[in-house]
Symmetry: C2
Subunit: 502 residues, 2 copies
């Protein structure tokens, strides 16, 4: 007779079969769907999301969990079985609070939301998207109220992406970062040393970008036998099965960094997904801890590896061969300086490492206002532009380059943005530790060797699944709680050296 | 309170949401899936197919159908409601006979079957595929026995693709065809007039083929805002929703007809799918009648339209512009003769109109032997080659060009092949009728006008959904039962003229 634990796992694995199917429909929706097929796809996803929610809230789960709570108290708290039970208990209690109707309405609203966002962005007309966004925010407030919270209503949503995090704590972290970053960005702005950005704005044919980006992703360790790279207008990474991780990017033939660093970023997410234990797929030991930890992996490969001088020591000759017309006359150092350009800009996904967190701060503040204080949707573009002027000193000339640039809110992803900044912090702290334990990493990168770092991340982070919380893991791996110092130290070091400041 | 009919339709629409999701997973599996992701995809599809079958056999369906059987006896037998009830009754009774376990086993076996077929075909090793094919045939025999039959066991499977058809009747039709075709093919073989085939074997770059094929598909009426064209090693067409029909092809840069006529063929299927009434999606009035009728649409656009002289009067200047190196020195008539080449060949999907049905006859006989008489799988390649020698006078030099060429058996599609020949017969008979009612079609094609034929097909066939059986429809539309004469007449006429025979 199967034990309660076996029953529990079997049930959750079945739920994962359905949930990963919804993910597949979502991937297809964003990469492949014919123009007029959106409405029916929304119905499919809505119906399946309802089935997923039914399975997630099946009362038998509650019974099995209750039986299991009585036993195993002495077990290793970070063992697979204990972590499975602890996480599923938390998830079950959470899901039981959300009515099935709300799950279905949110799915429908956000599938249509993404479609409407896509066309509104193309047409550069926020008004085309506003009514749908209004619906989504109303449903999200309803969801937060159903989930409950002690501090801010927003925390109920944040918890879905960064379990156990509180917005007031995140606000402190971002404020610490901002305080240190502003003088650094100012010093850089005042420096006489400037990279020549025109070299990145020459012509880089999209097919060559794809070939080069694909080769780099494979080299750092993204396995294409277990994944894909496609083109979308908003890059993303999604895991559709234990051996099926799909990343996307967009190509700008007049700007090299856009697709390339996007690919490294998504490949970083993908390497985490591919490093999870497949035999636990759909169960906590085979799942990512939090989006903050997920983002630490993408930002590490994009920035700490991909923008480093040794990385380009290895890859630059290949880049010159791939783009001879653009790069034949450009020395390595000029190229490396250009991809580390620091300058306030409009688009988050193309922002430099130093100003990036200010983009996040803007979104974090606005989405709290939308959820906690009912900021009217009609006022959102003005509020967005106002904050860009205040924090970055620039004003978006259009909504497409402003409030419409990100897909997140259209997909109902509120509470998601701050995890990007947490990711930057985690990344720097993990990277320092890896360098200490298995470094110098720089020498390895220069030799084109990325397996040592990837294996270290695999062992210390990926294979741990959800057996630790994010806070426990950073302490477990680095011996210290999360701090903003490693990130600031690194930015001062690398950018300071390039710009001759600090 | 919803009526039993409303309940019935709502339930079946929900089933269609799930079934179309399985179709989407299947499309993705064949076009996009990373190499190592097959096993998990099989699990997803198996689980969902089980859910579909659960819904198809829900006892409430039986109750609603019983309530409905008592009423409406006087209604129009071809009305939407009556046809819905009649078809759902038939389908429900059929599904109730198949155990859930068998549905799941067949799904798993055929998803893996297609994967194993793909690799075996690439490696040209039948033995790599044989054990999986063995499993599939065993399960299909089991399925046929569960469904029951009065004549041959094979008929239970045939009925799924061509409802109400019997293999002994199909055998007669194919025999009639064969008797007329063999002397025609012999006369053609003896003719001194021969097309110059080398012009089709020049270099036709794949990207230009795709652009040209896409434009032709759009011109004849395949709507890309409601569909896609992708690349696979076995061309197919699948409807994933009322506005989401996807076709595929494969490109051979050394042989023009392969992709182009494949695209026309699949676009023909797609035009049928796109012509079904979307508000009835998933219900009989919004479904295709049978695979024979489906194939009549693809074969009509591929052959009766696409290989006609007037079609090329319109398209040939565009073809010359698309492939200047290959075609600049080729006159229209030489090209047209070449794409109407008649010659026994190895590959069914590339066979000419005259020999095509002999390819079908071979498969039809072999699959009956596999299902009715337990022909051992190990003997299949030899039996295949033997029949090619006997009927077409040629011997496949390898399994890849022989028994491994078609995906069907790997996907569990037994009883499917004869519908191809039925499609050829229906196509010729419908085409004659259309020419009589709205012709001369030839003049329209020469002027690039395909909307009249498409609209006629839409009104007479596509919009009728499943309100008629195939036998009823051909009688309703053409005033006569199905006959092989229109097809033979056409082949004698067009091919006879080209070759100067008959």
């Amino acid at each position: 007779m199967p034990s309660p634990f076996d029953n529990l796992c079997q049930h959750v694995r079945e739920t994962a079969l359905l949930a990963s199917t919804v993910e597949t429909l979502g991937w297809d929706e964003r990469t492949m769907l014919p123009q007029e097929a959106g409405a029916y796809r929304a119905e499919q996803m809505t119906y399946l999301a309802g089935l997923v929610h039914q399975k997630q809230t099946d009362p038998r789960l509650g019974e099995w969990l209750a039986e299991l709570a009585a036993s195993d108290r002495a077990a290793d708290p970070h063992g697979d079985a204990t972590a499975t039970i602890r996480n599923l208990r938390r998830e079950y209690d959470r899901q039981r609070k959300i009515p099935q109707r709300l799950v279905e309405e949110l799915t429908r609203a956000t599938v249509l939301g993404q479609q409407k966002w896509g066309t509104a962005r193309k047409a550069d007309r926020f008004a085309d998207f506003a009514p749908q966004l209004e619906t989504i925010m109303k449903l999200l407030r309803e969801k937060a109220d159903a989930l409950g919270y002690t501090g801010a209503r927003y925390d109920a949503l944040l918890d879905e992406y960064e379990p156990h995090a509180l917005s007031k704590e995140v606000a402190v972290v971002l404020e610490n970062l901002r305080r240190e970053l502003v003088p650094l960005v100012e010093a850089i702005a005042g420096s006489v040393k400037k990279p020549d950005l025109t070299i990145l704005k020459r012509r880089f044919p999209a097919p060559a970008q794809e070939t080069f980006g694909r080769a780099a992703a494979a080299r750092i360790g993204f396995a294409f036998s277990r994944g894909r790279l496609d083109t979308t207008n908003h890059p993303f990474c999604t895991g559709l099965g234990p051996n099926d991780c799909r990343i996307t990017t967009r190509y700008d033939e007049q700007f090299f960094p856009s697709a390339f660093f996007g690919i490294l970023h998504e490949a970083g997410h993908g390497i985490y997904e591919q490093g999870l234990r497949g035999d636990w797929f759909g169960l906590p030991p085979g799942e990512a801890i939090s989006l903050g930890i997920h983002e630490s992996q993408s930002r590490m490969w994009e920035n700490l590896v991909g923008r480093s001088q040794p990385f380009w020591q290895h890859f630059y000759p290949q880049a010159v061969a791939a783009f001879p017309q653009a790069l034949a006359d450009v020395p390595l150092d000029a190229f490396h300086f250009a991809v580390n350009n620091v300058r306030p800009s409009l688009i988050r996904v193309e922002a430099d490492e130093a100003t990036y967190n200010l983009h996040i701060l803007i979104r974090f503040e606005l989405e709290q206002a939308l959820i906690n204080d009912d900021l009217p949707i009609a006022d959102l573009p003005a509020a967005w532009n106002e904050k860009y002027r205040a924090y970055l000193g620039i004003a978006p000339p259009s909504d497409a380059l402003g409030v419409l640039q990100d897909i997140h809110w259209s997909a109902g992803l509120v509470g998601y943005f701050p995890t990007y900044s947490l990711g930057n912090l985690y990344a720097a702290q993990f990277f320092d530790q890896a360098d200490e334990e298995i470094g110098p990493l720089a020498d390895q990168f220069a030799a084109g060797e990325f397996a040592p770092l990837r294996n270290w991340l695999g062992e210390k982070i990926h294979r741990q699944g959800k057996c630790y919380t994010a806070a426990e893991l950073i302490e477990q791996v680095t011996g210290k709680p999360l701090s903003h110092e490693p990130l600031i130290r690194r930015l001062r070091g690398t950018l300071g050296a390039l710009y001759g400041v600090v």
